[in-house]
């Protein structure tokens, strides 16, 4: 079977700090995988390693069966939504121009975007419900709107594989729900999706695979199989407990006693 993403025993170090340790993960075509884990657990590092932005100290990374450095023309098969913090909201640029950047890679050097590229950008903006704000400078958007611009830019590439790094940070519940509904629809049309999130409740309702990361891969499987004690401990420490409430699980974290400070 040809996997979209393959990580074999990947270890990543930043100087002395071990960010990822012996992580092996395979993502098959058509999968919708959520990567969850506490802050500093290496989720972003994992995404950047998949994309070849971070070079592992040990292990092998393959994207569409090749090391990311050898991907060349195949980068157009990948859509990437970086963390919102990576975007400078004071940069003088309009929403549409940001989304159009999703086409630049496949256009190649020097060539200008044509009507097909513009159409793809519009379609992407409509998918995230932002076409009304196409001419708005990004400095005049809310955090949630800016987040959707980044998703639209990745969709404008018309990728087979979509990687999203915390796409719901600082986003209200309605927008989060809307985004995950969109991702679910795209997945049903055949797009392979890997989404980094810390929102276990939302993730559990939408994705078909969950991987829990805390420097090492703690668990990987269907949400109903995996989201038990082990994952909770990975996410919130040993004091946490799951409470079933209606359809979706809630997490309750026990207060630390006074003896623990």
């Amino acid at each position: 079977m040809d996997y979209m993403i393959e990580l074999e025993n990947v270890t990543v170090r930043y100087q002395e700090l071990v960010a990822l340790e012996d992580v092996s993960l395979k993502v098959a075509p058509g999968e919708f995988l959520a990567l969850i884990g506490p802050n500093g657990s290496g989720k972003t590092t994992l995404v950047k390693t998949i994309l070849g932005l971070v070079t592992p100290a040990a292990g092998a990374v393959r994207l569409f069966g090749k090391p990311p450095q050898q991907l060349n023309g195949e980068w157009k098969r990948v859509g990437y939504v970086p963390q919102i913090a990576q975007l400078d909201p004071r940069f003088p640029i309009r929403v549409f121009d940001v989304v159009l950047m999703g086409r630049y890679g496949q256009l190649g050097l020097i060539r200008r975007p044509g009507s097909g590229d513009r159409k793809a950008a519009w379609r992407a903006l409509e998918q995230v419900g932002m076409s009304d704000l196409a001419q708005r400078p990004i400095g005049r958007l809310s955090g949630g709107q800016r987040q959707r611009v980044l998703v639209a830019r990745a969709l404008a590439t018309e990728p087979e594989l979509l990687l999203l790094d915390e796409p719901t940070t600082g986003v209200d519940v309605g927008t989060t729900e809307g985004l995950f509904n969109l991702l679910e629809a795209l997945n049903r049309q055949g797009m392979t999706i890997l989404v980094v999130s810390h929102d276990v409740g939302v993730v559990a309702q939408h994705v078909d695979q969950v991987a829990c990361l805390n420097r090492q891969l703690v668990a990987h499987g269907r949400p109903d199989e995996v989201l038990g004690g082990e994952v909770l401990e990975c996410m919130y420490g040993p004091q946490a407990a799951f409470v079933g409430h209606g359809d979706f699980p809630h997490v309750v974290v026990q207060r630390h006693g006074p003896q623990e400070g």
Binding site: K76, P92, G105, L109, R140
Partner: protein, 271 residues
């Protein structure tokens, strides 16, 4: 005003000023938005070593400066892409050592060299025919390259990591951007002076940044401010007999203060 344009040196200086005002402003937009002004100052100081060596070897000092500035730009780009030394440390090393080389070379050329110090502080009188042709060639080359790689340069300035993931050669484009910056610096040093040249790159773009939230409009406004600063500065320096580079930079600073006061950005961010 018309009769001073009768002087050949003034015609050359005016042409050079328009060229500098335009090219510096265009490159300045990338420098301001990507935060490269320290690199600009570093490359400018490196040109001093080139100019001094040019004098020593009897080569056109500007041509020697082109080589020095390009090598410095590539050195800085290489260091920052490999990330083995912190970028600002690397710039600090290049900055001081090429300047030191220049000073050493001056020492080798018996006595004080007035021409060489003209390069440090800039002089309108010093622009020769040959200098003007070289500047025109460099300026046209820089503007043409920016035109060709407009979308790529915007992309690596806005989001370098995403540019890389989209499959564009982001590293090579960064080297290209720093090379364009080096050439812009060389074409300005005769008039503006090595010490102040990076100011004329940064200030018009910074003024334009205050006034708009659209990239193309920012570039256009930077060119307007850059030309006004260079040309108004040139005439002021002629009338008051002041150093041309310093007068241009202070004129640009006045435009910057004005635009900061008028800035819709500032008004909004205060709310």
């Amino acid at each position: 005003m018309v009769e001073i344009l009768g002087y050949t040196f003034m015609q050359r200086a005016l042409l050079a000023s328009v060229l500098i005002g335009t090219v510096s402003a265009v490159i300045g937009v990338y420098v301001v938005l990507r935060g490269l002004s320290f690199i600009g100052a570093g490359i400018a100081h490196a040109s001093f070593g080139g100019v001094a060596l040019g004098f020593l070897l009897g080569i056109n000092p500007l041509l020697a400066a082109v080589v020095f500035c390009l090598l410095t730009a590539w050195g800085i780009a290489w260091t920052s892409l490999r990330a083995e030394v912190k970028e600002d440390t690397a710039i600090g090393i290049f900055f001081a050592s090429t300047m030191a080389l220049g000073i050493l070379v001056i020492g080798l050329m018996r006595g004080y060299n007035v021409d060489l110090f003209g390069y440090l502080f800039g002089s309108v009188l010093a622009v020769t025919r040959q200098d003007l042709w070289l500047s025109l060639l460099l300026g046209a080359g820089v503007l043409l390259t920016v035109g060709l790689f407009f979308k790529e340069l915007l992309f690596i300035t806005f989001d370098p990591e995403m540019a890389r993931v989209s499959g564009l050669p982001a590293g090579a484009l960064y080297v290209l951007l720093l090379s364009l910056m080096a050439l812009t610096i060389v074409l300005s040093i005769k008039v503006v002076g090595i010490i102040l040249v990076s100011a004329l790159i940064v200030i018009p773009a910074a003024a334009a940044y205050q006034l708009t939230e659209d990239f193309r409009r920012m570039m256009l406004l930077a060119v307007v401010v850059g030309n006004l600063s260079a040309v108004v500065g040139l005439f002021l320096s002629y009338w008051f007999d002041t150093a041309s580079g310093a007068t241009m930079v202070l004129t640009a600073t006045a435009f910057f203060i004005l635009s900061a006061l008028l800035s819709p950005r500032r008004r909004r961010e205060q709310v």
